[in-house]
Symmetry: C2
Subunit: 316 residues, 2 copies
Amino acid sequence: MIRPVIAIHGGCGVMAKLDLSEADWADARRDLAEALRVGWRVLHSGGSAVDAVEAAVVVMEDSPQFNAGHGAAFNTDGVHELDSSIMRGSDLGAGAVTLARRIRNPVRAARALLERNTAIMLGGPEADKFAEATGLDMVEQEYFTTERRAQALATLKAKAIAGTLKSATEAEKHGTVGAVALDAQGHLAAATSTGGYTNKPAGRIGDSPIIGAGTYARDGVCAVSGTGAGEFFIRHAVGHEIASRIAYLGETLQTAADQVIKTDLASYGVGAGIVAVDAHGNITAPFNTDGMFRGWITADGDLFVGTHTDVTQVSL
Amino acid sequence: MIRPVIAIHGGCGVMAKLDLSEADWADARRDLAEALRVGWRVLHSGGSAVDAVEAAVVVMEDSPQFNAGHGAAFNTDGVHELDSSIMRGSDLGAGAVTLARRIRNPVRAARALLERNTAIMLGGPEADKFAEATGLDMVEQEYFTTERRAQALATLKAKAIAGTLKSATEAEKHGTVGAVALDAQGHLAAATSTGGYTNKPAGRIGDSPIIGAGTYARDGVCAVSGTGAGEFFIRHAVGHEIASRIAYLGETLQTAADQVIKTDLASYGVGAGIVAVDAHGNITAPFNTDGMFRGWITADGDLFVGTHTDVTQVSL
């Protein structure tokens, strides 16, 4: 019997402590812990890794603290275009939606595509139609909007005009949520969901819905979910690259993950982070920025959450 | 000074000789040879690998013989939704468009995104708008339509109703075009373009626009372009998987490509093929079906084209 583990992230970046109020930081840690507990309960009631990562991501999509679902970023047209994917390590089954506008929980639509097993990936209005036909909760754009993201769009547009975009903080810019898990049967899964980055071009598809880039899981190797500068996750096929280094170079999970995040992607000067678990239940959560919303529950049932350098144990 | 090579494909599958007239087979071989010559001239006039693969793919997009650009397949709604991507091995730069409807040569839009270097991937109407703003040739849907694809849609819809879909021939079902090249500076590039498969769900995104799946290039390793059952190319991150086997297991190009196409993907009973070149100018073009439109020009300037088991040398 394998002891399950789960790890999640809620986005990485230059997270100045002043970007959020103390209450917001506490709320984010609370929602991370809750997402972990929800996934953990799935794993400990005999549920699969793919059920667990979906459930954990739904909690973060529903939280206004993270850039996915409720609380998603605006694109440059002031529209929320949502991307999500999920992958099951046992058979490499996968599902993904991109440029969705009306699906309350995009990860549920990705999961439904995985289960239907025809198209892996649907984009645009057809992703919404598929979700609706599947019976998922549909919402208006206003559901996704929060005051924080509206301010971020205004700030970034002003900075773009003023030519001071480089001073934008990560809280203004982007964020993503994701989860990875190992279940009691030894199966791995990963899921990711995002609104993309604030002021992104309309129609832009990042790495979060790309299997092999922002999301990847393969039994016997690892499960990975990424956050950061998506274009570079695509160029480096980050999820599949970490798996390949483990499977073919014999690297440990941590060595492979550190190589990609702290060397390969850091070389471009772009922010990046991941959470990953391997087939032995090892967990890693490297990031090359000064913070990442993250947390995990170990095989011993110890729950940790963190936003900056330190992580804090909280009760399960 | 490295001697350049180029290889292309125009789709793989169960290509019954009776699917096409003798004149059609000859036209397809002629257009493959012409695409190769166009790419070859780019490489031999000092052009880059990325210029060469773009130019070769444009010729195949413009040919009615192949399922890309003019001659693209219809989706289930009777609409042409086009996908393309391109990758430059020197810096892992990439561009991709998906669900485009009005771009005469989708690979040119992918290239423009690579050069602009902000979003790698644009989907839907925004891909069309980007291409138009870039000054690319825009066309109406009718431009893409050929009698052969219209018949294929009718046939597949009838077979779907009759429950005899498995009897559909590959010529009715799908196809993709792609090119890979090594230039005189030792740089690699890959490009892919497709209308997807006939009667595909509206909004379906296959592997052709997915960097790491249907298209991948990395200097020092290999360049890959795929054709076949796209969902399985996504699950196996085919392009990046072949590169990883070469870079990390030390396999040859041919061993790595054969493993993925003839073992990994063949295990699902799905059709798949690729063309690939490595940093030494080796060329491989494995497929697990009974045919693949393909061709290459060796470092010695020998031009070969083929549709089924044999390849024929034709004049450069």
